[in-house]
């Protein structure tokens, strides 16, 4: 399973929930539906990624990157 973020295409924003449903059907385990920014986050089996790419209304899929602050005792933050 990979954590992914999916961007919904501009011309499908008005049917956001339909795109979410199609992503679920393609095998995505949806965690957050963020309609105001048109992004769906969740996870999916690597084998199902191609299926997700072909979902109508999906414009971009990116794997999740992580962030780490410098330790609190560091002077540069």
């Amino acid at each position: 399973m990979s954590k992914v973020n999916v961007s919904v295409a501009d011309d499908h924003l008005s049917r956001f929930s339909d795109v979410v449903a199609r992503c679920r059907k393609a095998g995505m385990k949806v965690e957050h539906e963020m309609e105001s920014i048109g992004v769906i986050s969740g996870s999916i089996d690597d084998e199902a990624l191609n299926k997700l790419r072909r979902v109508k209304g999906v414009s971009h899929i990116e794997s999740e990157s992580s962030f780490q602050l410098a330790p609190p005792n560091s002077d540069v933050q």
Binding site: S7, M34, H60, F67, Q68, L69, A70, D75, Q77
Partner: protein, 443 residues
């Protein structure tokens, strides 16, 4: 500034230039007939090619010679010697070639200025004196171009911070009639110390996007950033350090108490901020990108949609540079074209050694600079205050000032707010690669 090393994933524009005419010998100064040419900071290859293309000058580079082996009298047999670390070339070429070079000054190329090389009479050790004279010549040339006066530098160094931090003073945030009243500011970070005395009585909405953690700041980074953006007019202990002291605070915890987070939580935080009508979203977080690496299409889409909804996303450019040796590219997600990327400067208006630069094409530039070295702000009890450095500290200065602009004119939302910040920035004598349009200024 959050970063993740494991993640897979300019140009100088002199504000004042030298004259466009061929340099002439000054009566009081003995010159050698050679010229010093100040080149833009950049790769030696680019600069050597520029000299060749503009005037057909054959260039040797200091790096071609072993330490101490450069013969300055013969220039190693070439017509010019480029000192890579100084970005200065000494040119000894026929008049038609030096004239071609002088006409190229200020045009769209790396040749910034030119002046005659002075003769320095050796008093002590000849090499040392040559280098001293050389250094004086270079300093004189750079001062002339950059226009930094000694008065400015000494004034900056002697800023009195007993009542106001240097950042509030140099951005004019402390002189502004605006307070951020009526404006919602989201800071997506490690949360806020909700019991900090300086935030008593403020309207605060706290939300955690980190599993099993509340919005209470157990790290300190978030409380520092929120303090700069929205801290009190009258803190428990002076100096005042906060910009938009009457703004409504939305403290979104997207980084854990250990300082870690991921895109999912950050995007959820942005969504929450937009849904709540936040006009500014401040993100002192990022992940390192490689030279040549592109930006995230997802964040770019998000940022565009945020602008359309009237929310401006401001993000830290990143702290991966080790200047002057290395300039690292603006990190993710500040490298998105529709996210305002913030660099850090110090109180002498110099670029911070760690501040990332706009070296990647396609949106990966710095847009604006903020105070980001030795910045005093709030930290969780019982310490209450601390000085920190980083583009993380520069970013909330810009976010707070954005709130002042938003209060000053209800039409300044989304891209109009971006444009107002850029238009009012104070030009600095630094490359736009490093500071974008300059130092953020309050209305």
């Amino acid at each position: 500034m959050a970063k993740d090393k494991s993640k897979k994933k300019s140009n100088a524009s002199p504000t004042t230039g030298a004259s466009n005419h061929p340099p002439t010998q000054q009566q009081t100064t003995e010159t050698t007939g050679r010229y010093l040419v100040l080149m833009r900071e950049g790769s030696a290859k680019t600069n050597i090619e520029a000299l060749k293309n503009v005037a057909g000058v054959k260039v040797a580079s200091s790096s071609d010679f072993k330490k101490g082996a450069v013969n300055m009298e013969t220039l190693g047999g070439a017509q010019a010697m480029l000192f890579e670390l100084l970005n200065v070339a000494v040119v000894d070429a026929p008049p038609e070639q030096t004239e071609a070079l002088s006409f190229a000054v200020n045009a769209d190329n790396p040749i910034l200025a030119m002046e005659p090389e002075r003769v320095v009479h050796a008093i002590g050790d000849a090499t040392t004196e040559y280098l001293r004279g050389y250094r004086d010549g270079v300093n004189h040339l750079t001062d002339q171009i950059l226009g930094i006066t000694k008065e400015e530098v000494s004034a900056a160094a002697s800023i009195n911070q007993s009542k106001l931090t240097w950042g509030l003073q140099l951005t004019n945030a402390s002189g502004s009639q605006f307070t951020g009243k009526g404006i919602k500011v989201a800071v997506l970070d490690t949360g806020l110390d909700l019991g900090h005395p300086d935030f008593a009585g403020r309207k605060i909405t706290s939300q955690s996007f980190i599993a099993n953690e509340t919005g209470q700041d157990g790290n300190g980074h978030g409380t520092h950033c929120i303090g700069t953006a929205c801290g009190s007019l009258k803190p428990k202990k002076l100096p005042r350090y906060g910009v938009a002291y009457e703004a409504e605070i939305f403290a979104g915890k997207v980084l854990s108490n250990r300082g870690s987070g991921a895109d999912g939580g950050i995007l959820a935080g942005i969504d929450w901020a937009i849904t709540n009508g936040c006009v500014v979203i401040s993100m002192s977080l990022g992940a390192e990108v490689l030279p040549g690496e592109g930006y995230s299409q997802i964040y770019e889409n998000v940022a565009k949609r945020a602008l359309s909804a009237g929310s401006l996303i401001v993000a830290a450019a990143g702290n991966e540079s080790e200047r002057p040796a290395r300039i690292a590219p603006v990190g993710h997600p500040a490298n998105c074209p529709s996210i305002l990327a913030v660099a850090a400067i110090d109180k002498k208006l110099r670029i911070a050694s760690f501040s990332c630069g706009g070296i990647n094409p396609d949106g990966g530039g710095v847009d604006i600079a903020g105070p980001g070295v030795d910045v005093r702000s709030s930290v969780p009890r019982n310490k209450l205050y601390r000085e920190l450095s980083g583009t993380s500290m520069a970013t909330p200065h810009v976010a707070g000032i954005a709130a002042l602009f938003a209060q000053s004119d209800p039409a300044l939302r989304g891209f109009a707010l971006w444009a107002a910040l850029i238009a009012h920035a104070k030009r600095l004598n630094l490359p736009s690669r490093d500071v974008g349009m300059g130092l953020v200024q309050a209305p």
